[in-house]
């Protein structure tokens, strides 16, 4: 029952929270660049506008794929906030991005195809680390269920500092922030036109944007799992991490896709695996 309430609350509140986070993000970014910046509610104006525009459709299949992307992102987030199985959530999350890639491949635009290819590379770059994070959380809390992970009294971050740092690295890819915003970006709108979203316009682009809000709230929730033994510290840590992501976004230039792939795999291979190896060694030694 608690789970159902969590899921419903996520489905209703996540777009509001995600939009506000995006608004704060844009404001802080502007201040970092010495600008005034748009109003706090600008992301809502943008999406509202997109739904007012004419819907130019190249292939009807693209609308279907983007809708599937939105639904599966919302589903994985809802499962997460319902306290479901983290592995299932990670797979639903990956499937959602596969739909986005298919949507971009459905049209015959080279820009869209380059964006789709880069999205696949991003998927390859961050996926190992996400799974290692789930495994790490399991090793500490002895459960793959998010509900049990949240209820834990163990300070997970002390056991998984490497996994946390690795997860923060791939979070930069997931939040579409520099230096890893290679498939599409919030800034530099001239970069390979607009990457994966080039051929989406009007309400379809609005759906992509809403899915991104859902996704961001879900990812911040994932981040919270590392600190769930103390909600106050948890929320502060998530806020600081997000602020650090904004800072990194503003001080780095876009890297090439090879660098994104290497960083993602290095994070998983070095920070993640070494952390887990030490953890399992300590566990077998301790018992």
């Amino acid at each position: 029952m608690n789970g159902l309430i969590g899921a419903v609350l996520f489905l209703i509140l996540a777009p509001v929270a995600g939009g506000l986070i995006a608004g704060i993000d844009r404001k802080i970014t502007a201040r970092m660049q010495g600008r005034v910046g748009p109003p706090l509610l600008q992301p809502f104006y943008d999406v509202g506008k997109l739904f007012e525009k004419e819907n130019v459709v190249v292939t009807t299949a693209q609308n279907f794929y983007v809708l599937a992307y939105l639904i599966f992102i919302a589903l994985s987030g809802a499962l997460f906030f319902a306290g479901g199985d983290l592995l299932l959530i990670v797979f639903a999350f990956t499937l959602a991005h596969v739909f986005l890639v298919l949507g971009a491949y459905a049209v015959h635009s080279p820009y869209s195809h380059i964006g789709a290819e880069r999205e696949l590379i991003q998927l390859m770059a961050y996926e190992p680390m996400v799974i290692l994070a789930a495994v790490g959380l399991y090793m500490v809390t002895n459960s793959f269920y998010v509900a049990d992970m949240v209820a834990t009294t163990v300070p997970v971050i002390l056991y998984l500092p490497g996994v946390f740092l690795g997860f923060v690295t791939i979070l930069t890819i997931k939040l579409r922030k520099s230096p890893f915003d290679i498939s599409t970006s919030h800034h530099a709108h001239q970069e390979i036109v607009k990457g994966i979203t080039t051929e989406f316009s009007g309400s379809t682009l609005g759906q992509v944007e809403i899915a991104h809000w859902y996704e961001n709230v879900f990812l911040l929730g994932f981040l919270y799992l590392f600190f769930s033994w103390n909600p106050v510290i948890g929320i502060i840590a998530v806020a600081i991490t997000y602020a650090a992501e904004i800072f990194v976004d503003n001080v780095t230039a876009r890297a090439r896709w090879q660098a994104a792939l290497k960083s993602g795999w290095l994070a998983a291979g070095v920070l993640g695996l070494v952390n887990l190896a030490i953890l399992s060694y300590m566990m077998t030694g301790g018992v």
Partner: protein, 158 residues
């Protein structure tokens, strides 16, 4: 709900301008003028754009490009012609390859004068364009409604 006025995304195209006006357009995006305050974003993609800001007098080579860009923009959309060349061809109007003004190729809604146009004038032009954009949106919705009503009146079922 009029979100359109609060979030106009711009497509900027240089149709054989001398680059003077283009520098002024980009100046609008700098921290000094910061047009993102009004939700204005410079997109490089006609399919995401609401306002086409275009400079220069259009030569024979980019005539087709301008038409293509305009057609790719989803309705409602407005065109802002920036600078003397965009309005009339300017000092290049006698050149053998210059069409002589944006309105020879696509319909223009706002003309921003000047050689080069100042950033303040360009922002003023965009604000004027926002009013026209809003008008077009109401008209578009009106047209859709009229069509819908006519269909109902004819007793057509889909």
């Amino acid at each position: 709900m009029a979100f359109l006025k609060r979030s106009p995304w711009i497509l900027h195209y240089d149709a054989s301008s001398c680059n003077g006006c283009d520098i002024e357009v980009l100046a609008c995006l700098t921290p000094l003028y910061d047009v993102e305050r009004f939700g204005i974003i410079n997109t490089g993609n006609p399919k995401h754009a609401d306002i086409l800001m275009i400079t220069g007098g259009i030569n024979e080579l980019n005539r087709a490009v301008v038409r293509n860009l305009y057609e790719q923009m989803p309705e409602p959309k407005v065109v802002v012609a920036i600078g003397a060349c965009a309005a009339t061809g300017g000092i290049f109007r006698e050149c053998y390859n210059i069409t002589g003004g944006i309105d020879k190729v696509i319909p223009v809604d706002v003309y921003v004068p000047g050689c080069a146009a100042r950033p303040e004038q360009i922002i003023d032009g965009v604000v004027t364009a926002l009013g026209i954009l809003e008008e077009k949106r109401t008209k578009m919705r009106g047209n859709a409604q009229t069509k819908e009503e006519a269909r109902h009146a004819a007793g057509e079922s889909t």
